[in-house]
Symmetry: C2
């Protein structure tokens, strides 16, 4: 039984890595399933995907910003630039949990704007829920699976406070799309309430003066290095309808990826998020009391950092340990 | 020992209820202390305060909104209106945990604008931290203590996403102060990302047209009943510098309190929050696994709802039970 499970995971991992769409869909569904046996299968799959390759050349990009800023249109424009460059793109569209009045979901909106027949684009919607800073806890493992199959994985979400902060930690590169003429984003950024993105975009459309003023405000508010270090936050103007500036945005996104790999901070950054994710998941399931049982936060985190084995499997073994208490 | 502890709690409860400032300060410090013996003393104090009176005539008011909207100035103006009406006012100023670039803290800003010698105003600052939707977990018990000593308890915080949602659940009445000329608030409200406040304020200062446009946008976006029911969300204009509209705002806040007491929803609302608070605290400490140990979420919540005894003491007994597992 165990052996055939291993075989299933290995086959699935291989198919996902080759970009097989139906394998990808199965793998994503696996991550959403909470039954014990499925959970350990999923952990194994994630371990296999991570061991096979560390996805150093792949890029996990977050696009966030207020509703109405034109994120979906911009994502569609970016995707068509990447496709022209021969890159395969996976998208996770994360919607806020309970929109009172809604409009179309992010994923649906994006689907309408991209070609249905393009095999190099894969879009998955999921609704955010749970405690995970307003982001669904599955976003991280799903990102790992998508990175195995695509050159670029794009996470689109509506950014407010905690959700936006979590996206900024999870992704290699975060772009914040500001709404022209709005003051809140600038105020929030200045007050340190919004996480500082790596790239700021004003999607100006045809708004002329208003967009120019917003651009100037953001440039003066963000005229500094990113807190991550060695990166000055660029503020770009784009028009998703005329495509102006979209190529440059794709270039700047790529530059940030290069900067991360050159500074050798890409993989440590992902590993840091993985540890944060495990910590947060265990807190959700077992609380601060559970972490105490594992020897306290400090010891627990130090052990995770030392761990050379796969962290997803380590996480499953900690869960089993705590369940027996 | 137990008896003298009881006596201390009873004396403290009595002094707090009489509005004794130093007793109030001691009581608030007690709530911040995590040592086991202090915790049970604090639970006892909260029980005494709640049993003595249910604060039906007192009003817990939240003021939230983006930085720069003029919340502190407006709070100061409201406080002076309430003082003229002979009401005693307690303030909890909750600051976001780690402002990168800051400016003065909310509480300090408010202190500068109110009279130092007025014995009928009490201001306490605390920084938000922890998982509690970005709000400090102590805000609720502190509110209960403050309600014992003041006619009005005002909670001022910078609202973004989860923090703002939690304030809206915790307070009897929530006012959102919008920034004139900003589009994000309107967008967020429309998209259902911001919790709908009971009262919307545009603090217009001298901004003329911009403020008028924001006012019109908000009025059309919020032309509906509050999801709580039986309350149409008013959108008011104030100028905290000239005091225009501040008396009317105080009247509308009072009307909402009257509506809640007439509809007999004030106390059930507070009790609902208290149950939510206990659930959330236990999740933080013991995780979903801990709630399972108490028989699962459904059974656990049903038991809390049936409970006729004091909920703070019930909470402490659940904690003890889970610590023994």
């Amino acid at each position: 039984m165990q052996q055939s499970d291993d075989k299933i995971s290995a086959d699935l991992a291989a198919a996902v890595s080759e970009g097989d769409r139906s394998a990808l869909a199965s793998a994503l569904n696996l991550l959403d399933d909470q039954r014990a046996r499925v959970r350990s299968q999923a952990a194994e799959l994630l371990a296999l995907l991570q061991v096979n390759q560390q996805f150093r050349d792949r890029h996990l990009i977050g696009i966030t910003g207020p509703p109405g800023a034109g994120k979906s249109t911009l994502c569609a424009a970016l995707i068509s630039v990447w496709r022209k460059r021969g890159l395969r793109v996976g998208v996770l569209a994360v919607d806020p949990s309970s929109p009172i009045s809604g409009g179309a979901l992010l994923g649906d909106r994006l689907r309408m704007q991209t070609s249905h027949e393009d095999d190099g684009v894969f879009i998955r919607s999921l609704s955010s829920r749970g405690q995970f800073g307003g982001l669904s806890a599955e976003v991280w493992p799903m990102s790992i699976v998508m990175l195995a199959g695509f050159d670029i994985v794009l996470i689109e979400t509506v950014g407010v406070g905690q959700r936006e902060a979590d996206i900024a930690q999870l992704c290699d590169t975060t772009c914040y799309v500001a709404q022209p003429g709005s003051g809140d984003s600038v105020q929030f950024l200045k007050a340190g309430i919004l996480e500082v993105p790596h790239i700021l975009v004003v999607n100006k459309e045809d708004m002329g003066n208003v967009a120019r003023r917003t651009l100037a405000e953001l440039r003066s508010a963000l005229n500094r290095e990113h807190p991550d270090g060695h990166w000055k936050v660029p503020v770009l103007a784009t028009s998703a309808t005329t495509n102006a500036g979209v190529e440059s945005l794709a270039d700047v996104i790529d530059e940030h990826h290069n900067a991360l790999t050159t500074q050798q901070t890409l993989l440590p950054r992902r590993r840091r998020y993985q540890i944060y994710w495990i910590h947060k998941r265990l807190l959700e399931e077992f609380g601060s009391f559970g972490i105490e049982r594992l020897g306290g936060e400090k010891k627990f985190l130090a052990q995770l950092e030392k761990n050379q084995l796969d962290l997803f499997q380590h996480y499953e073994s900690l869960r089993k340990q705590l369940h027996k208490i």
